[in-house]
Symmetry: C2
């Protein structure tokens, strides 16, 4: 049974079809990350921290594209489990310097393996060419919507 049967007119909207598929993919990813105890945003935070090195919460929030007010709770959870550490910046004591720990790097490696597996499975219905197309088109849409001021 193909999806257009459920809502023929909506299925003619590229935006609707796009969003509907992505929400399902997101759910699959969230379930996979839950097996290692991470929320999707927490995985994005660990991944970004690992790549960029220690940084302040504000910069981290901007890069991960999470609200500055909401990142506190994500970091609280990560810190509680020892995956990150927070220290006051001696040069500006308002700021917290967030650093990924060894345990955080281990968990990140584990969760990336889980995601690699899930991703390979989820995208197995697509050819390499189609995956490249999807990535390119998605990036263009994201950047384009950003430029439009949203």
């Amino acid at each position: 049974m193909s999806s257009p049967e459920y809502a023929p007119r909506l299925s003619r909207r590229p935006g609707f079809v796009f969003v509907r598929a992505a929400l399902r993919i997101r759910q699959i990813y969230a379930e996979a990350l839950a097996t290692v105890g991470l929320l999707p945003n927490q995985h994005a935070i660990l991944s970004t921290l690992d790549e960029l090195g220690p940084c302040h919460q504000k910069e981290l929030a901007q890069r991960v594209v999470v609200d500055q007010g909401d990142i506190v709770a994500y970091l609280d959870g990560l810190q509680h489990n020892g995956y990150i550490s927070r220290e006051r910046d001696p040069k500006d004591r308002r700021r917290q310097i967030v650093t990924i720990t060894d345990a955080g790097r281990e968990l990140l490696a584990e969760s990336d393996q889980v995601l690699d597996h899930i991703e390979a499975d989820t995208f197995s219905v697509l050819s390499d060419r189609e995956r490249a197309q999807l990535t390119r088109i998605s990036t263009r849409l994201y950047d384009g919507s950003d430029a439009a001021g949203h």
Copy 2:
């Protein structure tokens, strides 16, 4: 500034890039629909009702892919504003038959115009060929993830 700069490693994951773009598109759609007083799920409900004709809440929930428990609140809102009517099915009085009203059809036409406008704008960064590719790939992913039991 291109999006990969924010999170280089995550941006190499097709799933992440896909979901990130779709969430932004979804937000743009939600804001557009808010101007006519509709939630995205309410628009999907009206669109489906208009296309399929009167049907029971359970079938409606299945087609729109909304939880049967959650659809009650969406329908309450639509009924309060006169966009739908609910009547007990005389053949099975446990069931409610949901019907879109003339006011509902008017609002649907208006909201579809809004969406057409927003959609043209959002996808203007893509060629016709790319839009077709995106729709085809998204549909394949959605159906594929469904077959995988998610």
